[in-house]
Symmetry: C2
Subunit: 257 residues, 2 copies
Amino acid sequence: MTSTNDRVVPPAARRRRRPTKTGVVLSGELIVETALRLLKEHGADALTVRRLGLALGADPSALYRYFRDTDDLLLAVADELIGRTLRDWRPTGDWRADLRDLGLRVHSGSLAHPQAAVLSSYRVTGRAHEIQAVETILGVLRGAGFPDAEAVRIYHAFVDQALAFAALDAASTALPPAAREAEAGVWRATYARLPADSHPNIAATARHLVHDMRRSAYPTALDMLLGAAAARLAEITGGGRAAGTGPVRDGMRPAAD
Amino acid sequence: MTSTNDRVVPPAARRRRRPTKTGVVLSGELIVETALRLLKEHGADALTVRRLGLALGADPSALYRYFRDTDDLLLAVADELIGRTLRDWRPTGDWRADLRDLGLRVHSGSLAHPQAAVLSSYRVTGRAHEIQAVETILGVLRGAGFPDAEAVRIYHAFVDQALAFAALDAASTALPPAAREAEAGVWRATYARLPADSHPNIAATARHLVHDMRRSAYPTALDMLLGAAAARLAEITGGGRAAGTGPVRDGMRPAAD
DNA sequence: ACCTGAACACCGTTCAAGT
DNA sequence: ACCTGAACACCGTTCAAGT
């Protein structure tokens, strides 16, 4: 079986393309852009091969010349999103501020295309833009002074936290309007009305819950992760223990799941 | 429009049910259990009204007497999963150990039903089991000494991080076998082979990446979050500032996204 | 070489008719 | 009261035929 990443025909071999009935000349880039536009304008349910063909002015089956299947198209969309998110980012040299900015960019980039993000945030594309992002983030951590094993461990937690919250919050944003409104109402209509004798902790904090649960918890979780990373770095660089050697023994030790 | 949570007919009004053609007596519970079994045995694509009807021995359209639509069924599945995850959990009195255990349970519970988790982890059900979970976790944090506003903020970050990682890791687990294998191979086949001159940070850490990216980063992220929470608690209780009053000013301050 | 159109095997949901 | 079966408006994907 061939890899999911290859197109059916390598781009270079597709030189002179016959325009479709409506005069459009198809290309992978045009299809990805159109897919992103469809997702943005009409939601996740709108990304069907048939509607994509219609939007492009081509027969749906023509798309199978460019992408093996819908999953292959989705990975291309995912990589394009990563590229857009990091296109104009530049490091400042302050590792903590840089990671904070990167995390918030990934998160808000996902919310700008929630339907695409919810379908693709958890995928490893192995394509150009993703590789560039991995290289950049590892560079920030190694530049800060984290030894390699530690840099990778924190890289993994940082990236997966960003992607996981991006997908979570994108999923809420991308919910059909009826379900979205129903969920927003649950905190006011259900939680805020629970009696104190059966649910003392919810009743005592209801006011805070109604206020806080509307916003994303990602900025809080991100700052907690960065705070823990900074504490760890201080321990490594200030504690006199040789950096990068020996097992990690305290605080943020790896744990069996 | 009626709420997403109501069934078409209240359970009490459905007394004597006619068995289906194949002799099965339908019920909401039976349908939810069958849906979970279908998801587990045949993956997320198997949860269709038609296949569920087939598995139950009933006409697909009969299910619409019990659930408004597939989303309504999904929320019932989500709440059932929460219930199973916390069914036999008991607090030890050590807030940090208790939260760690709860987080790991949510995560591994999701991986036990990845197809269900990926569809439902980001939903607010407002149903019985979810309410019980919120009450329990808030109780642990308030019992630890966090003032109400802080307890809610940390509750939100803790729960959303657990659910977000659960969904992320469940999504990888639930991927169709071909895509799953392709992703696993990307770290070895693509990242581990990048040259040091173009990608120095990836090349320097390739060995760690191949090893680390196979596992979930959740235990690391969870320990980092709990470490930051512990530091914050020490600050509040040891720092002499009145608990629960005044704005939070340092370290883990809330941030605009 | 590339696009088209028909075909196949599916979906969720509604509603009149049956029991 | 509850289940059934037909109907409607969709899906993704394949492949022989057209240009």
